[in-house]
């Protein structure tokens, strides 16, 4: 479903983020991308989201080269990928409910669908009681759960989580990971970038390990080895 084809991203000769990276992700997989800070995890995800362009190589989402998609069609492509960031990136002027419904509005969903789906997803992440709170009134774990709700409410084909637990305490970390597992069980592909050893070892799913911009290991039921 997703295919990185000999992708390199070179910022400058001394700063090579990715070098000749190739691997594929199948539908309904749960893939962890691991590596130390600076190994190229975030760059890889940015390239998939077409937030940045590769220096060479191609990134395919199904049959389309994401960097050859015309700007007008990029939003539609992005709506098929839900994103979760380490720093949540909620819209600060919108309530939790509005952050979630914004994704649906952006997708052009009708009001009735929004009234049905948004509360349902907030219920799923356990935040219906704080639906009308603004992000600054929520804790880190709550913000991240809103972000996940926003990422999945449009029923994307893949959820991309870039260090989603980086700013959270252990209890919230496991909440988030369990949510991601649940999303995966419901049929959505999940790509999780992390450097949290415990998470990787307990997940027992596919692990792609990056080191200095190169794929050094790609194992089913992998463990965190660096």
């Amino acid at each position: 479903m997703i295919y990185f084809d000999k992708v390199s991203k070179i910022y400058s000769p001394t700063s090579i983020a990715l070098e000749d990276v190739s691997f594929a992700i199948s539908p309904n997989e749960f893939v962890s991308i691991v590596g130390q800070s600076g190994a190229g995890k975030s760059t890889l995800l940015k390239l998939l989201l077409a937030e940045d362009r590769p220096t060479s190589g191609k990134v395919f989402f199904e049959s389309s080269d994401v960097h050859a998609v015309p700007p007008g069609e990029l939003p539609a492509l992005r709506r098929r990928m839900g994103v979760v960031f380490q720093d949540y990136r909620l819209l600060p002027q919108k309530t939790a409910y509005e952050n979630v419904s914004f994704a649906l509005e952006a997708a052009g969903k009708g009001d009735d669908d929004i009234k049905q789906d948004a509360p349902q997803v907030l219920e799923l992440v356990g935040l219906m009681d704080k639906a009308w709170h603004f992000p600054h009134e929520l804790s880190g774990g709550e913000k991240q759960r809103v972000a996940i709700a926003r990422a999945i409410v449009t029923r994307p084909d893949v959820v991309i989580a870039d260090e989603p637990t980086g700013n959270l305490d252990p209890l919230n970390t496991w909440d988030i990971i369990r949510l991601l597992e649940k999303i995966n069980d419901l049929g959505t592909t999940v790509i999780l970038a992390t450097h949290d050893k415990e998470i990787i070892n307990s997940l027992e799913r596919r692990v792609v390990t990056l080191e200095k911009g190169k794929v050094v290991r790609d194992e089913q039921r992998g463990r965190y080895v660096l």
Binding site: G72, P75, R89, G110
Partner: protein, 310 residues
């Protein structure tokens, strides 16, 4: 764009305007300042141009005819003059009309009226009053009259100079026309500079306000919002800023022009800027509104465009 998207854009524009609180207020204030300058320039320059036109209107030259000149001859000359592209109007004043005007002007002044009785016959000569479209053209009109074709009917003084007031008033007319031309040019230049400065100030403010939202804009793009859906609410906010700023500026203009009118009407020969303002208040509000909305929307458009590149 479908109806539902349009409605959502409107909704978010209004909500964002209120939630942005202080930033919205600051933007409206700076924009009011800009429209205030633009409005003052518009009102000031059209008022000034009204004053200048009325001064130009007051300039004319008269040519006096011999008592023996026949009316047909004078009317023929009038017709010739009216053919000139530089001439705006020519008015024939017969000797009798001149006498009537003189009497009316000095009504109640017995000494002067009595002196008329003493003279006995009508001491006035027939004349024509010529107004040019442009005060600098009086020289050439005067030259035409002096060319010799009309020597037989134009009156002359003892030294043989024809009685054309241009000669006598040439200095004043030239000075005045130079002054008027300079005022128009200076007024235009000042207006242009002020307008450009105020546009830049307003644009910078909107850009700063939207720079604040750059992270939001990039998140919206990653969430899959289309460019029009992201840009729309900012444009709606721009319209709101413009409308409020225009209304606010009009409210400030009222006392300002009232005060300025009272203080400066003597300076402009009885012209009162406040009267001009209150007579044209709807047009002025329209200009303020259009410039406010255009300024708000265009600034927002260009400011958002810079961040819509992820």
């Amino acid at each position: 764009m479908d109806k539902i998207t349009f409605r959502r854009i409107l909704k978010w524009g209004f909500i964002n305007f209120f939630r942005n609180g202080v930033v919205s207020l600051a933007t409206v204030l700076v924009m009011s300042l800009s429209i205030f300058v633009i409005g003052s320039v518009v009102v000031g320059s059209s008022f000034l141009s009204g004053v200048i036109s009325s001064l130009e209107e007051k300039v004319d030259i008269s040519a006096y005819f011999k008592p023996s000149a026949k009316e047909e001859q004078i009317l023929a000359l009038k017709k010739d003059l009216e053919q000139f592209p530089e001439v705006r109007s020519v008015k024939y004043v017969s000797a009798e009309e001149a006498l009537e005007i003189f009497r009316a002007r000095h009504e109640g002044d017995d000494v002067i009226l009595q002196s008329l009785e003493v003279v006995g016959e009508n001491p006035f000569s027939p004349s024509i009053e010529i107004k040019a479209k442009d005060p600098t053209k009086y020289g050439s009109i005067s030259k035409f009259l002096e060319s010799g074709r009309y020597d037989n009917i134009l009156d002359m003084d003892d030294s043989g100079e024809k009685k054309i007031t241009y000669r006598q008033n040439q200095f004043v007319i030239d000075k005045l026309s130079a002054l008027l031309a300079t005022s128009r040019r200076a007024g235009f230049a000042v207006s242009l500079v002020l307008a450009v400065i105020s546009l830049m100030v307003a644009y910078s403010t909107v850009r700063l306000a939207i720079y604040n939202s750059r992270d939001e804009i990039s998140v919206m793009q990653l969430v899959g919002a289309s460019r029009p859906f992201i840009r729309g609410p900012f444009l709606v906010e721009g319209v709101i800023h413009g409308v409020i700023a225009a209304a606010f500026t009009l409210a400030v203009f009222y006392p300002v022009f009232w005060f300025a009118g009272a203080k400066t009407s003597a300076l402009f020969g009885g012209f009162n800027v406040f009267e001009y303002f209150s007579e044209n208040i709807f047009q002025i509000f329209f200009i303020l509104l259009v410039s406010g909305v255009l300024l708000g929307v265009l600034s927002a458009y260009f400011a958002v465009r810079r961040h819509l590149k992820v």
